[in-house]
Point group: C2
Chain length 514, copies 2
């Protein structure tokens, strides 16, 4: 492997002034060592009880909470995100760790199934068969630029992989290496407190194309989780699929999160609607995978009024600090491409840097009609930042044509009255086929961490549309079902033993029971 | 697409005498028509109630049972399998259809999850979120040569895909086109009886490389299921992954199903053990993906006695009729390759054709030691037919080295005493990491259709080690979770409505309840 040995350093996004220290990228030997330690750790960690894993996850949460002030200081400096956001994200990250702790302590998540023997069955006797979900093996987790905590070192993928019983190797993101170090040390302290095996967790630095590829192609690694750009996600997805043993790889890559505005919404409070959308588009400087980048409106006076008011709010927005110079440049380029498209009108373009020393960006708003949108594929490209595109249609057929042409996205939002919803079941159905989450009269930013959340969607929003990266369903990213036939009761995993010592919900001879 | 228009005909395996009629391969237009009809059918079929789908599945079972005599006549002629096997497989196929009917009628399989709103939550109000599994879209199913009913037109993948709410397009196997037609017509009669939309089911003929590839790469198709050779499975797997929108593709490809014999097993009844293994190796002329093709034995007198007795049984086995000339030739080649390997001794080689006009094959038994087995990779190749390889080891370390070197398989079997099981937990753990099903003191052939079955395993046994092709868990091959945020109760799917009209088990605010 060609190796870059350039240390990884970051800078204050607002000023681009360098932050210290710099972090050394991992060597090939360090990748191998982390993988081998993870492989060894798996044989003990993979068989820990739910309550032992819960204790570990809760210890991680406690250790992270104990350094919240340091995290706020370092993460705000590295990312330009405000202190309240870092505090909120720390809370969410710890809530997530505890939700998975509760899940594995309770234990029913393993989906234990028991079909008892029946020696008298005709024509053939029935043998005892039992199965449950088991951890898949060492997992590599790639930190996201835009969530220094909740989708990074001890974020969703790490929490679900550890909860399932898998050792984790995290690759830090170059946008917040110091935050990664703080959280990584918190995880390591928790692992020591709880006597976890060495190798249950490692943190490595380096580029995605080098260290990331080395990790995802390492034979000991059995799955991967990624949140980031489409190009980065696709490259790692291909590497995972091209292994001698292909492995599951969950990449969350891009989404423009269509918003369908029905007439009923425009008959209501336009001011509130415009303010709500504006809040969602500009939240976190627009750097969310759930950012609403496409708004579909029926042509008419009400839509025009709404558009004018929304444009005012966008134009009045002070420049926002983006996460990294790279993200800021990509945003400016995306805005410039939309502005240059003959088929779109620029309503607001405050995207040009106000302060060339920092990562400052203004908002952008574009408008076009459905025919032009369908003709110009480039208008479907994600512009990662505080920008959105309004697409107007003259009738229902035009709206349906746009929706049928959409790729996979994480979310779709419907704004309207309850009767709009009822009268447009076919439209809801089209949307349902293209996203993981449907939102009614709300905005897609803000992803609740809970049992029912689906934060995923058909390709190319993610590499695997069957999965979610948020919520307790995410534990099944890193498991597979294993079946035991005719095993003596005491040699079975406790979850499958006849007496059900953990008192979990199971499917016994076809019926749910405890 | 290059198109072969040669009609597909089959022959009596025992005599190679041609059977009539010949079946025309599908044209490109027919592929497109079937896909478009399936896409249209999805929008209604995908929203049918569980009980409506159950009625359809049970009607298919009834229609198949009504033609069991014709099926026995045609399928025995096409495959050379005995009548009792076809009768048994018909029963299994109908049981499978009814098991999925019961599953979707009861309804809890959708894994409905409800997190209710909490407007008073701090710092942010909590919004109502609900999610459940929904069908993925039109599915293509490839028939297997070795199961003319249970893994073919109305077999496991078709049953689970239809149960989930997906239209199905089946590609018939050239080994039993007439059986496919009979079953296909039964499904079509059931669809008419139940007023199903046109396109809920189609049956096409043609080669895997032409019609199979055209189907799996069609944009309307959203998933595929396959049981067959590694080369065929890998080609379709690559085609599914290379689509502009990659789709889930479940291929069950090859497995040698290791059997670990512990000393405790050899201390017991050697006669019974040899007879059991012989029955498993020769069942269905060895043409099962769960056929035990590798037996690991501790060196010594007991093992020698066992090997001699097993070799006698194998040598005394009358020639068996294989499914097709292609399978028979591949078997002879596989046996010849093992026989030519310097590192293996041929104990029984009755594989040479006794009757060159038919698809006759004898049994084969090879023996080698663990060091030679580890050195010669070719000995790990699947020989699809009534052959097996005994590998002896001098100590536990040699056994562990062999096991650690195994690829993914469908099953692993442990023969021994309960204390062997208890004293070799590390070995069970190694096996668990490499298979979907562990069998204790039994044989891997015979796959129970039930809730707990896992018929799958890590790559290369299957293309996706997270999945099973048998049992009710298989329904999740063809679904994905979809989440509804803030939807008015009456606009939600019934499974997610507050009153729980279907009375299904759900996870409500974190707790299982009805």
């Amino acid at each position: 492997m060609e190796k870059t040995t350039e240390p990884i350093s970051t800078a204050y996004p607002a000023t681009r002034e360098k932050l210290h220290p710099a972090y050394s990228p991992a060597s090939v030997d360090e990748v191998n060592e982390a993988a081998e330690l993870a492989g060894k750790a798996f044989s003990s960690y993979g068989h820990l009880s739910g309550s032992a894993k819960a204790t570990f996850l809760r210890a991680i949460a406690r250790e992270i909470e104990s350094i919240v002030d340091q995290l706020v200081e370092r993460a705000t400096a590295e990312t330009g995100l405000p202190a309240a956001r870092i505090q909120g994200e720390t809370g969410r990250t710890c809530h997530q760790l505890r939700l998975f702790a509760d899940l594995v302590e309770e234990g029913s998540w393993v989906d234990a199934r028991i079909d008892r023997a029946d020696p008298n069955r005709k024509p053939l006797p029935k043998v005892d068969i039992r199965s449950m979900h088991r951890p898949i093996g060492p997992v590599v987790v790639f930190c996201a630029s835009n969530f220094p905590l909740a989708f990074s070192v001890a974020g969703g993928d790490t929490a679900s992989a550890l909860a399932a019983g898998n050792p984790v190797i995290v690759k830090a993101h170059h946008a917040h290496p110091g935050t990664a170090e703080l959280v990584g040390n918190a995880v390591i302290r928790a692992a020591r407190e709880c006597d976890m095996p060495a190798g249950v967790f490692s943190l490595l630095y380096g580029s995605g194309s080098e260290i990331g590829t080395a990790l995802i192609t390492h034979p000991i690694i059995k799955a991967g989780g990624f949140t980031g750009s489409r190009s980065g996600g696709l490259a790692l997805m291909r590497a995972a699929a091209a292994r001698p043993e292909p492995i599951p790889f969950y990449a969350e890559m891009s989404s423009i999160n269509p918003v369908v505005v029905f007439p009923g919404a425009l008959e209501q409070n336009i001011e509130q609607l415009a303010a709500g959308l504006h809040g969602s588009v500009t939240l976190g400087a627009g750097q969310f995978c759930t950012n609403p980048g496409l708004v579909l409106l029926p042509k008419g006076d009400a839509a025009q009024k709404f558009t004018s008011r929304f444009a005012e709010l966008m134009a009045d927005t002070a420049p926002l600090t983006m996460l990294t110079p790279g993200i800021c440049e990509a945003y400016q380029q995306g805005v410039a491409a939309h502005a240059a498209a003959l088929s779109a009108v620029t309503l607001v373009d405050a995207a040009a840097p106000k302060d060339s020393a920092g990562c400052q960006a203004g908002t952008a708003l574009f408008e076009t009609d459905s025919e032009s949108f369908l003709r110009d594929k480039s208008l479907s490209d994600e512009v990662f930042g505080p920008a959105t595109l309004f697409v107007t249609h003259s009738n229902r057929d035009q709206l349906i044509a746009v929706l049928k042409n959409l790729e996979g996205h994480l979310t779709a939002t419907v704004l309207g009255s309850e009767s709009d919803l009822r009268e447009n079941r076919d439209i809801i159905e089209i949307l349902e086929g293209r996203v993981g989450r449907l939102v009614f009269n709300g905005f897609p930013t803000g992803v609740e961490v809970c049992h029912s959340m689906v934060h995923g969607g058909p390709y190319p929003a993610t590499s695997d549309g069957r999965s979610t990266s948020v919520g307790t369903r995410a534990i099944y990213r890193f498991t597979r079902a294993v079946c035991f036939q005719n095993f003596p009761d005491t040699t079975l995993p406790v979850e499958l033993q006849e007496a059900n010592p953990n008192g979990i919900w199971r499917i016994v001879d076809g019926s749910f029971m405890k």
